[in-house]
Each structure stands twice: as structure tokens, then as C-alpha cells.
Amino acid sequence: MNPGSSLLATIIPLPVLLPLLGAGLTLVLARRPTLQRAVSVTVLSAVVVIAALLLVAAVQSGPIVITVGSWPVPLGITLVVDPLSALMLLTSMSVTLAVLVYAIGQGVYDRDETTPITIFHPTYLVLAAGVANAFLSGDLFNLYVGFEVLLMASYVLLTLGGSRSRVRAGVTYVVVNVVSSLIFLVGIALVYAAVGTLNLAQISVRMGDVSPGTALTIHLVLLTAFGIKAAVFPLSAWLPDSYPTAAAPVTAVFAGLLTKVGVYSIIRMETLVFPDSEATQTILLVAAGLTMLVGALGAVAQADIKRVLSFTLVSHIGYMIFGIALASPLGVAGAVFYVVHHITVQATLFCVVGLIEGVGGSTSVTRLGGLAKASPLLAILWFVPAINLGGIPPLSGFVGKLGLLQAGVADGSTLAWVLVVVAVLTSLLTLYAVTKVWVLAFWRPADQIPVAEVDEPEEPEDPDEEPLDEDTSHPDDVGDSRIGLPRAPTPRSGVLTGVRPGTAQTLADREANTGAEVDWPVARLAPGDSSPVFTGRFLGVAGNRVSRSLPRVMAGATAALVTLGLALTVVAGPLYAVADQAAADLVARTPYVQAVFAQTVDDRVGR
């Protein structure tokens, strides 16, 4: 190995190490919010730079390997950077950084600076460390640890504030993910029993000697575990159920990263460890088709924008699985490009939904209207990533889909053709779902929002309030819940308008149900008045004095993400070349394996 690459190798652990150290530091700085924010932004910026360096190095000189603590390969932990993992790392960390800035803008983690709900930053950085560890890991157990680290952080972020709906969603999310982690652990046990090692490169060499039946069993166990994490169709029901309840930046980063770590693991398994498995390729193709269709149909059926996007998230996982299942360099390259595109665009859309919620006071298309007039900037921010997701040329979504369709056609089998048709259909359905949102929420004149909404908001929440009435008869317990647990961080509004959100159900607000009282999440008509009143927390204090400005930091971060998505289109050529190279390396397998084993020889010579 030349000195340059060994120097580069020493920075490989930094994307894991820096966020972890940063997490500790932000925890110490819990009472200094400004410093805390500075630390997180600095750390993630540094990681983005390092990831970019690693990508350049990996593309130029092939996979780079470091053995942590200089233990010889099969014994120690190896971290491997090949074009795939470097590309994933760069994309995910860029999005993580942008969403962090967005979150700082929203102040979601910290309703007011004197109450210590300051766990957002440390947890967020731990999440980033877990994601980086999963992408860099060169052995199966370290991948498991990476998963656990990011999942543990995601449990905390999802239930941030502990409101009723988030706890309900959190329980489902935690139990489903714990089960998938246990299945993963079973897979690890089976792999170890079969081949006696957990190093991915070594497994890939030895797996050839295992009897086909055993190998298939192990393969299916691991696929089930990753399939749950990646939300592939029969295992995807948990996702639209749990993601929409979280805070906007949390959902954005989850949508961008977590499922993609699962997809990344599937890519690794399919290409490196189990390269020629006809049976599972067929299973994956069928699952990919169903994921696309079921997800897209779900998206069409939903009225709430967050749920629409959660379903498109599931649906588009199908595209990546489609590419992986084809197992050709073309297919894998398409999948890799699509992952990069989808991380960016999906995170962007969820960020925009956070802005929509702020402006319109709701995320349901049945209650929104006239947003294009209220905030033209917001309309642009939604429109560009939305049609990108739908696959309108020349945007990156189109490029990715085209690549996958070409790979499907090149494959030529009947099932691949069926998948091509399904992929086109899904693309149309996605376009329909996002344009439905566009037409209803942005283009529909505000005075056409159904008037039936006026008195509706009071009724449906009633079932939820019954437990409250019970609670008040146990004053002690109410006191407990109040003191013992941190209150939900209602998103801070004071920054913008001085109006407090999140009080939709308080009695005071109901009495003042005049449209002048800012309320959430209701965009309602003022009684006796046919003109609608926007009641989102970004807009005017009295509802009739509509301020047109979006919060600068949030809009800026979202605009940066939109620009990143557009940049993917501009650099689609070189990016696709990188994806092609990554795919060629993956399908060939030898560069990865050789790089890892070269390390062993080096070390033994050095001793």
C-alpha cells in the first residue's frame, strides 16, 4: 500500500468517532445551547468533508481498509471504504447536516432554552455515528452494533417529548425494530456456526463451501432482518404507522437514512456474501414489485401529506430492491444511484412538509388550500422535489428510474419485464399522489376548502380526552406525570410571530374560537366569513394579517436540500459513473476481498 492511502486509512474511523465525541461534548454543554449547536454543526461539517475525501480516494484507488487497533484481519474490527460505502456516507452525512440546520431553525428540540430538553443534539449525533458505523463496517457484528446504535438514537428521537401519539407510535416502532435486530442476531449466530467467522470478506470466501440449503437458510434469515429495517413490502407496515408522528426534522432524517441503511445492507449481502442465489433473486423481484405497488396505492389513498410521503418512501424502496435483485452491474448501479437520489429527495420533502405545517397549520390536504398564493417560495420548495420524486425528466429521479428500467430491459426475463411495467406504473401513481397534494394544497383557491371543516375539529379528539377526565379524578397521578416526565417540546413559535402553537384542544382556545386565536392544527373558516384564515404558526398574529415570510433558517436549509437534489441532476453523469464503478466492484467482489486480505498480510509482515 502506498503511504497516501495509509494516511487516508487513518481518517476512516473519524466519521464514527467525531459524532460520538461530539455527542459527549454536546451533553456536557447541555446548558449552553448556542455552543451545543455550534459543536454539532462543526462535527457534522467535518464528517461531510472527510466523507468527500474518502469518496475521492475510494474511487481513485479502490477500497481502503483499516484494522482498528492493528489487530490482524479475522480477529479485529475492520472498517472498509469502497465506492459504495463512501458514496452512501457522503450523501447521508450531507443530508444529516442540512436537516440539523433545519432542526436548529425550528428549535424543535428545545422549546425554551432554560428547560433542559437538550437531548436532541447528543442523540442526533449518536444517530449519525451509528449510520456511519453501519456504512463503514467490514464485519457482520460491527454492522449489528452500528444498527443498534442508530436504532437506539432513533427510539429517543421518535418519542421526543413523549406525547400520546408519539408514545403509541414509539411502542410499535421499538418492538418491530427489536424483533428485526433479534432476527439479525440469529443470522449472525447461523453465519458463525456455518463459516466460523464474521468478517464480511472472509464470509464471502467461505460461504461458497457451505451446502446450498444451509446457505439459503442463512440468507433468508438475514434478508428478513434487513427487509424489516428497509421496509420491503410484507415487512413494511410499521413505517407509515410510526414515521408521521415524529417531529418534521426527525422524520426527514429517518426517511433519508434509516431505511437506506437497510437497503445498503441488502446490497452488501446480495453482492458480497450471496452473489449467485437465484431463489432469493426471484423472491426479491416479487417483493420489489409488491413494495412499489402497495406503497404507491397507499400514497394515493392518504389525505395527510406526511402519510402520503411515508407511503412513497416505502414504494420507492421497491425501486432499489428491483435493481439489487437483477444482480447485474447495470441493476446494482441503478440501485446505488437511486439510493443517493432518494435519500436527498425524501428528506427534502419531509422538511418541506414541516414548513407547510407551519404555514397552513395542518398537513392534511383536506384542510389546506391557496398555499401557492400564501407563500410562493414554499410552493417552489415543494414542487421541485415532488416532481423529482415522480420522475419528471431531466431531474435525478428520472435518471435513476431510467437506469433501473434499462437494467430491467437488459435482463430480459419475464419477471424483469413485469417489474419494468410495475415501475413505470408506480412512477405514475407517485406523480399522481404528489400532484394531488400540489393541486389541493397549493393551487386550490383558499375559499374552496370545504366549509364542513369549521366545526369539525372539536369532535374527533373527544375519545382521546376521556382518559384526561379520569386523570383529573386522580390528582396525585396527574401530578406525577407532570413532574416526572419532560413535556413535549411544542415547536417554538415565538421566534417568528410571538404566537404559541400546539394548543388546539385547550378550553381557552375553544372559547376563543373566532379565527383570531391562533390554533393548531386547524386551518378553519372564521364564522360568518367566507374568506379562509390561515392559522399556521409562521403567519400573521391575528390571522387576517398574513405575513408572507418563511422562517429563514428552515427555508434556507430546505432550499439547500432542494439545491442538492438539483445538483444530483447536474452531476448525474459523473455520479452515475461512480455508481457504475461501485456496482462493477460489488459484482466483481474481488476488489473488496483483496483489499481486506491485503491488510492481513501487511500486518503480519509488520509484526
Partner: protein, 177 residues
């Protein structure tokens, strides 16, 4: 090579029990199910390390008689992770209990909305599906909220008054205690 039938049978029994428990509606049983499944998996990992042997300390036994130390390290890590997850789940269950006064998995809002929609034969249900995550904040501490609404409402300066607002809410917490 002999198969450790007893341990494998134990793993089987534990998985059966765990799957049964985790499918229950009561969250406490789900938690127990997670624990049982976790332990079953840990035993499975140990079994994957081969037959039991001497303690793997160099010099205490010939290398061929040692048991595999790696799987034990893996299991140790897995146990720690399970402990963390368990404590988090316990916290969630406790929170569910303080909010709902019950231990069952609560009904999905989406389910309820869909059922109502079907019953009425309507296309769209007007119920706002709660995705803000904030709807019940007011429910958990109504006093507190009223207090803030009265003082935050007319205050145009937002940030300027944050600190006093926090101190009053803190005080009301003390009173309740």
C-alpha cells in the same frame, strides 16, 4: 460433532414462548416476550460457538480444549444492548400508563378514522389525523398550558419572555407536587 440437543430444545421452547408473548396486546407481556426472545437468541449464539470447553485463558488449558471466547464476547454485547432496549421499553410502557391508564397497545388513530369513514361510506374523513405529535400536550398539563397561553399570546417579543415563562411553569410543577 455432537449437537447440543438440550440447548437447542431450550432455544425452541423460549422462541415459542417469546413469540406467543410478543403477540399479546398487553405491553408488559410484549416486553417479557422481547426479553425471552433476546435470551433465546443469546443461547443460540453461544451454541453457535461449538461445544463447551475450558476457560479460554492462555496457559490454563491446551488450545484445542478451550471454548470459543468470541461468541461469549458477542453475547455480552447483545445482553448489554437488550438491557438498554428493555429499559427504554419500560419507560415507554410507564409513559403509556400515565397517559392512558392502561397497559394495552392503544388503537391506531388511522384505524379508527378508516373505520368511521367506511361506516359512513365517505371518501374522506374530516378527522384530522394527528401527525403533529403535539395534540395531547395540553391534556397532560392543562393548568400549565393555560398559564402559558395567557402570557405568551399577547406577547409580541417571543424570545424575550422565555425565561420568566419557564420559571412560572416550573413553579406550577412544584405546586402540584
Amino acid at each position: 460433532m455432537t449437537s447440543p440437543i438440550v440447548l437447542l430444545a431450550l432455544v425452541g421452547v423460549l422462541y415459542t414462548t417469546g413469540v406467543y408473548l410478543i403477540l399479546e396486546r398487553s405491553l408488559t407481556r410484549v416486553l417479557l416476550g422481547v426479553l425471552v426472545l433476546g435470551n433465546a437468541t443469546n443461547v443460540l449464539v453461544v451454541v453457535a460457538g461449538g461445544p463447551a470447553g475450558e476457560a479460554p485463558l492462555v496457559g490454563r488449558a491446551p488450545e484445542s480444549a478451550m471454548s470459543d471466547a468470541l461468541v461469549q464476547a458477542l453475547v455480552l454485547t447483545a445482553i448489554v444492548i437488550t438491557l438498554g432496549v428493555t429499559s427504554f421499553l419500560l419507560a415507554l410502557i410507564h409513559r403509556t400508563w400515565t397517559l392512558e391508564r392502561e397497559d394495552d397497545l392503544t388503537e391506531d388513530v388511522e384505524d379508527r378514522s378508516l373505520r368511521r369513514r367506511l361506516a359512513r361510506g365517505e371518501q374522506e374523513d374530516e378527522e384530522e389525523l394527528d401527525t403533529t405529535g403535539c395534540e395531547n400536550v395540553a391534556d397532560t398539563d392543562p393548568d400549565d398550558d393555560d398559564e402559558r397561553s395567557t402570557e405568551a399570546g399577547p406577547d409580541p417579543a417571543g424570545d424575550g419572555r422565555r425565561a420568566p415563562a419557564a420559571s412560572t411553569t416550573g413553579a406550577s410543577g412544584e405546586d402540584a407536587r
